[in-house]
Subunit: 398 residues, 2 copies
Amino acid sequence: MNTFQFYSPTEFVFGKGTENKAGYYVKKHGGTNVLLHYGGGSAIRSGLLDRVKKSLDEENIVYTELGGVQPNPIDTLVYKGIEICRQKKIDFILAVGGGSVIDSAKAIAMGVPYEGDFWDFYCDKSPQVALPVATVLTIAAAGSEGSGDSVITKAEVGLKRGAGSDLIRPKFSIMNPELTCTLPAYQTACGATDIMAHVFERYFTNTTEVEITDRLCEAVLLTMIKETPRVIADPTNYEARANIMWAGTVAHTNIVGVGREQDWNSHGIEHELSALYDCAHGAGLAVIMPAWMEFVYKHNVLRFAQAAVRVWGCQMDFEQPENTAREGIIRFRSFLKSIGMPLTFAELGAREEDIPQLVEKFGIGNGKTGGFVKLSGSDIEQIYRIAVKPELINTPHL
Amino acid sequence: MNTFQFYSPTEFVFGKGTENKAGYYVKKHGGTNVLLHYGGGSAIRSGLLDRVKKSLDEENIVYTELGGVQPNPIDTLVYKGIEICRQKKIDFILAVGGGSVIDSAKAIAMGVPYEGDFWDFYCDKSPQVALPVATVLTIAAAGSEGSGDSVITKAEVGLKRGAGSDLIRPKFSIMNPELTCTLPAYQTACGATDIMAHVFERYFTNTTEVEITDRLCEAVLLTMIKETPRVIADPTNYEARANIMWAGTVAHTNIVGVGREQDWNSHGIEHELSALYDCAHGAGLAVIMPAWMEFVYKHNVLRFAQAAVRVWGCQMDFEQPENTAREGIIRFRSFLKSIGMPLTFAELGAREEDIPQLVEKFGIGNGKTGGFVKLSGSDIEQIYRIAVKPELINTPHL
């Protein structure tokens, strides 16, 4: 196990009706003059935004609204938010929405007290200070409600990049699973895929002797495998929604990933897809993550066999562990298909002929990147090509 | 899943040599005038205390020492600590030690700014404010390094009681598994038993649909089952020590127990044993916890069967699930025995004739207490009697 630091100071407030306490928690955490940041129509139509505003009013908290965050949130709205916060002397940002809204709020939070361009933080610079951020979560997916991460797209050039700092971990996150009961099946499945990817990107590691985090990773995955089909079958299943929502948070505070080298190449490789095609991040991951697995599993067959046995319930083939490792990837794809996810470029609406462009945008040139397996540009190209025509997939062989 | 609030704002600093950063983290978290609280000789003999002092000196942090915390920490030292803190205008308490030292530090932290008797907080009163506490952990056991809990014994009357508040969650906890490599096997096994008990007391619940926390509980237990025998066999096994140390923290921040009714009767029933005989808490739990299980398992046979299958690797007996449930308890006792724990009153050095006194001190009169199963005084007496002569134990039947 490696040396680590873990700091997750977010206060989680979980359960029915908790959004009505938003004002109380803003006050508790020192907010007086709030930027209320949200996305499109659903938070308005559902009445959620009104309930949050009422709760702020009840605590005499002043707020300024900034809506309009889109999926794959873009820099232009961040710049606008920074300007508003400076003009209005905002001291607290409350994000009402999913990962996109929260990530946009985090970018604004870092940008306001910074003299340079906030985009610097998405190019490896560390912030020294940030406005406090909090969330009212509306979808289980990104885990941004409990993480110190944010992903923003530079709209003009279609570049999607991440930033990370404990400073942008939310002060509190209000999580009412009921708010997710109206989500369509496809969006729900995209969120579930993102949650599982957050775990797998921590699970496949070269760090040995990390049983506790292996087991915690498996705990989240087993939960997702049980609960996701239940919400796809019945979107209003509160209990399944609740399990998924908390699993999504646990998956990404990093409590399941401390003390080990991680590998976020699947996220990076996917980001180029959602940046180019504006597809859902989770759908892109459903196409990329198993393709990445198919490309790298031989690097550590027994680790993939462990996942197959412990997570997917495969029988261990002690004579040929590779069979077990491969069966785990096949079952992952079967699961993704069963919840309505795409598995190939074609199903996602991506084009094989764009692969060189995708690799180019990934932008590692002649370098290599990754934790579990270091990938070159040519490796990444091969992963995209596997995603065009996967081998380890449970379809009739022609 | 029930509504919950979860707030674990402790900064964990984990790995070799991290104790040398104590001063840095005290400063980071606002401490300038510190009470350095510790136990007996081992922290001195090992040089740990000197390293911590050096690190405080390097940051020009003033400190006052208060050593002498004993296992099952007592109120009298707490009163002394409160007085010192008030006289010296201490603004931060740094506990160097295990659960006893940390719990004592937490009691002092609540007592200093409080006008009444700190013992009020151990009789269900909630603190409104407390001094900040932080820790340098020397044993994986109590989980106090990441919890909002503290247990103190009122020396004169031998009463052991707990307090809980997010206010006493440590600001930071420094966790160097190397510091635990010198612990004797018995103390290590006591710690491991305590960790497993913290999980089981959350696992057995009447709350349904808590798959995520079930799985997280199982993750910690599976880790303990793998790693504990390895440190008993080789106490200097750093990797196993590291896994156990982080498992011990995860077991008790409550991240594995949120959203569910819990049942802490085993801890309560044990507390009377360690208060009366001054035995190790973990050893008392090894005797009481399986006895409690043996008494209550029929309340929900399938939940006990789930533990048996998922945690202990038992085969499910689908015709007679009770067999599986019982086998799980037998395996738990076998495991405890294998790591050197006592299983009976006699092995612990407790006396059957003291049972009425133990029940009396438990002090529920004609009431009932518990989450999973509500127990009367007579039920508790029966549990003590099971602990005298267990049934579900893997010994030759005479």
